[in-house]
Symmetry: C2
Subunit: 332 residues, 2 copies
């Protein structure tokens, strides 16, 4: 199986590392070769031997470029066309204005009949139906487990392990940064100080607007609405309230009533929202810390919960790996 | 797809009900016909039209017999041979002395090249390797999601959603009865009174020895050891301590240290145990009530938790349904 990795930030690098780490297992399945990689500045293609993982990772670390050739403004699709690949692994940064290069790359790969794995939330939150229709039309598999909840296997759980169930609703904590901040506020810390701590610990970006305004969570509920509930919605359809207006007073008032405040994403046939909610202490969604958690209500199996690390280099890469192995098995 | 349901207690009845409830969905997949059913006293076989679900369920309720023919000591395998079926759904009661009729039924079906779904823990806890080797030799699929944790999809989670991960260990609460009793003891209730309450509420059998001695949990860790870790063990290899010797003093002492006592099953490459353990309050395994819960440690994805209802008519049947749909899809 030949793969192309587009985007070589934390996740793209994590994928290449994991492919090296799991080489023996992948060889048993027939082997995986990376024939192409690109980041915003550079690319490498090697359709014969495949790209040396250590060179790509080393180049990124030392020179800030994963590839041996400068892009010089070259478009992603033209680089993709140079490579012989079966699966595009799309890890460019999320852009929710127009889907950015990630959307273009995915479209191009699907048009060429390639399978796609993406953790880029932008294209899925903006153009889910277009992309899944395109995949179906061209006989392509499109998988995106890592786009919601990182290592938490919520999509495969709902679509595969719970097959046969009608999923009535999914409520969840889909942003570890917000949950960390709210957990710190539970102990009396003001919002700004908790945010600063999250940034110092590396849980939050310097610009954490997407997280604290609830936009990142909204991308995820959009993806769940489309993929699990078969709806046709975009992030513009989500009712979104972030955590930046939550006061210490609100937190104390909640605590007096044995409750906490958590940023909950909810999706069902009719609902699509992200908002801070009161959750009783001891309830699964009262979880503290940086984990992601989802509570899936089913018609016959009752409530099922799942939790896992919502972000992280190896954690997100591991979700990509599970998608890749599933594709390898389906294509056998 | 033609199925035979052996065992027509709570779970067997729940399966037939669920097949009726989900008929539209199953018809879209090609349709499911029940060509045979049996309980300890009676059986019915109809290879042409299939068995009327309402008659079987009504007969069981009114006369205590699911079938229209008395068995008169007839062996399960001879009844199975009368039926034309693709999948045996084995729901006879668990017998961990010699596997009971369930083991004989499963063996016989696999020898005849039939696929098998079982929620009967006995055959799997005693003869896992023999049965899975037999299935492989004869090109049969054997699935058993409902045998561990009822509706909690732990097996499919580990084998499918987390594919590519090395599972380092699984620790879990695998018996809702014990967890209910321990949760009641947390509030100061003595063991005998908590047990009585569990029985009155229908969470515990009149004879709850298997539950409180940890044997039911031990069956489940045995199945996980064989299926997830590829070990070749039987229930005899599990180190088992039940909850019947836990005193109110032990519970209070734990509480003073901000801990609770939970009956934890643990399985890894080297460990296979069921025992009461101290768990810090707030830890996923400190869960109260009747749910089952598992904490899966992976090499790259970190810790993943899953919880769900560990028992119940429709809940266990829903696990069988997911196995059945997976088989239908694989056999297409």
């Amino acid at each position: 199986m030949k793969v192309f990795i587009s985007g070589f930030g934390t996740v793209g690098q994590g994928v290449f590392e994991l492919l090296l780490l799991k080489m023996d297992m992948l060889n048993e399945l027939g082997g995986v070769i990376v024939t192409g990689i690109m980041d915003s500045k550079s690319y490498s293609v090697d359709n014969e031997k495949g790209i040396c993982g250590l060179c790509a990772l080393g180049g990124k670390k030392l020179k800030g470029k994963c590839g041996n050739t400068d892009r010089n403004g070259m478009e992603g699709k033209d680089i993709l066309d140079k490579a012989d690949y079966d699966v595009l692994i799309e890890c460019t940064p999320t852009n929710i204005d127009d889907g950015g290069e990630g959307l273009k790359n995915i479209r191009h790969a699907l048009e060429k009949g390639k399978d796609v794995i993406t953790v880029n939330k932008g294209p899925l939150a903006l153009r889910f139906k277009e992309l899944s229709d395109l995949a179906e039309k061209n006989g392509c598999i499109m998988r995106y487990e890592g786009s919601v909840g990182g290592a938490m296997p919520i999509i495969n759980l709902c679509k595969e392990a719970l097959i046969g169930q009608k999923i009535k609703s999914i409520k969840g904590i889909f942003n570890g940064t917000c949950n960390f901040i709210l957990s710190r506020m539970d102990s009396g810390m003001p919002f700004q100080q908790a945010l600063k701590e999250a940034q110092q610990l590396g849980y939050a970006e310097a610009d954490s607007t997407y997280d604290i305004k609830g936009i990142d969570s909204a991308c995820k509920v959009t993806i769940l609405a489309n993929s699990i509930f078969g709806r046709d919605v975009s992030i513009k359809d989500v009712s979104i309230i972030g955590i930046d207006t939550i006061t210490e007073e609100a937190i104390s008032l909640a605590a007096e009533n044995d409750m906490v405040i958590r940023l909950i994403g909810e999706v069902s046939e009719s609902r699509l929202s992200v908002s801070p909610r009161l959750v009783p202490k001891g309830h699964p969604l009262s979880l503290s810390g940086t984990l992601n958690m989802a509570l899936v209500e089913t018609d016959c199996a009752g409530p099922i919960t799942v939790s896992g690390r919502g972000a992280g280099r190896q954690e997100t890469a591991s979700a990509i790996l599970s998608d890749l192995i599933t594709i390898i098995k389906e294509r056998k």
